[in-house]
């Protein structure tokens, strides 16, 4: 098993790096998008709420793979060039942003209405109240579920293998088919993924317990 690791060390490292890179980029942008759409979903105008709702429901109910394939096959053909890595990351960002929006929205809803009213009656505009009063409290509540979304994001980044994104999974397939040692390769790749996800989810469980008390 270790021969697999030592013989293909550089491919594994490239894959590992690409997986991390893709996850971090997708996390940053999906956080921005997710918080944006969560705020739209609780905004006063009904029309805005409907748009946000449609966005969230569409991306939550279509498989990630289909979204990624659309960016990999259709967008480059008719609009602009995207590499596998780019299209995978964009798809992942949109997909995750819907889940993050839903999480953040439930966090915002869990903040008492009095907070908003209090802030407004102190002369803040709606946006100021959201920015300085509601969101900071909501974000504190949703940190554990957001962390779980990040774990999911790392796992989901394996779809890059479908679009030649050179992530861990893609490298794994290449190595497995070249060496014919499929099980050993998959175990090694599994360990690479666990290095990323397991500490994170244990830390989140710890955090959740700490916040619950």
């Amino acid at each position: 098993m270790w021969s697999i690791l030592t013989n293909n060390w550089s491919s594994f490292l490239t894959g590992f790096w690409n997986t991390i890179l893709c996850s971090v980029i997708a996390l940053i942008f999906s956080l921005i998008l997710g918080i944006f759409f969560a705020m739209l979903e609780v905004a006063p105008p009904k029309f805005v709420r409907i748009i946000a709702h449609i966005y969230i429901e569409v991306f939550r109910n279509i498989p990630l793979l289909v979204i990624v394939m659309i960016f990999y096959l259709i967008v480059p053909r008719f609009f602009f060039k995207l590499s596998g890595f780019q299209s995978g990351t964009i798809g992942l960002t949109l997909y995750t942003s819907a889940f993050i929006a839903e999480t953040v929205r439930s966090g915002i809803n869990s903040i008492g209405e009095g907070q908003m009213e209090g802030a407004r009656s102190n002369g803040m505009t709606y946006i100021q109240a959201m920015r300085y009063v509601i969101l900071p409290q909501a974000m504190k509540i949703v940190i554990p579920p957001l962390g779980n979304q990040f774990v999911n994001l790392i796992k989901n980044s394996s779809v890059l293998a479908f679009v030649a994104g050179f992530d861990l999974m893609y490298q794994a397939q290449l190595i497995a088919f070249a060496s014919f040692q499929t099980i050993d390769t998959y175990i090694v790749v599994g360990l690479f993924y666990l290095v990323l996800t397991l500490p994170l989810s244990y830390y989140l469980r710890h955090l959740e317990k700490k916040l619950a008390n």
Binding site: E57, V58, R60, N61, I62, P63, L64, L65, V66, M69, I70, L73, I74, R77, V151, K155, N156, S157, S158, V159, A161, F162, M169, A172, Q173, A176, T182, I183, Y186, V189, G190, Y193, L194, T197, L198, S201, Y202
Partner: protein, 219 residues
Amino acid sequence: METFIHAYSWVDIHFLLQGLWVTIYVSLISIILSFVLGLIFGLLRYMKIKYVSAIVGFVIDIIRNLPLLLIIFFTYFGLPELGIVTNQTAASIIALVIFEGAMLAEIVRSGISSIDPGQMEGARSNGMTFGQAMYHVVMPQALHNMIPALLSQFVSLVKDTSLATIIVLPELLYHAQIIYSQNTTYIIPMYVIIAVMYFIVCFCLSMFASYLQKRFKMD
């Protein structure tokens, strides 16, 4: 527009519906089996039996933190190396059941833990056995709390069946790929319609989840 009309000929739609059917039945079988597995392992993990619960918990954590795609590869390309021959359908169902079973076990465990221990104590002190107390008192309440999490896990299971295209399971996405690889101008219509099909199936499940939640709203 012309290509859309041609792309949605009855032959193609029929072919896609066949794929949708495979998606649905693979999902259904996986949902049922993984729910049973999740209940058993969630209970085992909750019951705190010496060693058993710790080992079960560790295995669940490992599986939960691996990508499903890796597990699909493992069951399709890895199991035959161990002498277990599988076809695409069996391999994808096994992979889905293992992965989603672990996810569901965690939901079940946290659902049971969310019930006040006093419920169990009360039931036990009224002369019920552990099994009776679990079945008649704790589980119904726990299941009620779990409904939203369970249903959203089922929705993601349906979406995750699309990953099985990589091992050539003849499901919806794979059938669409066959159609547009014969005529590449069909690529947009195909992705539009399969997105709509997936959306309908998953959205109905989501709606069902929120209906159940309202229907069984306690107090």
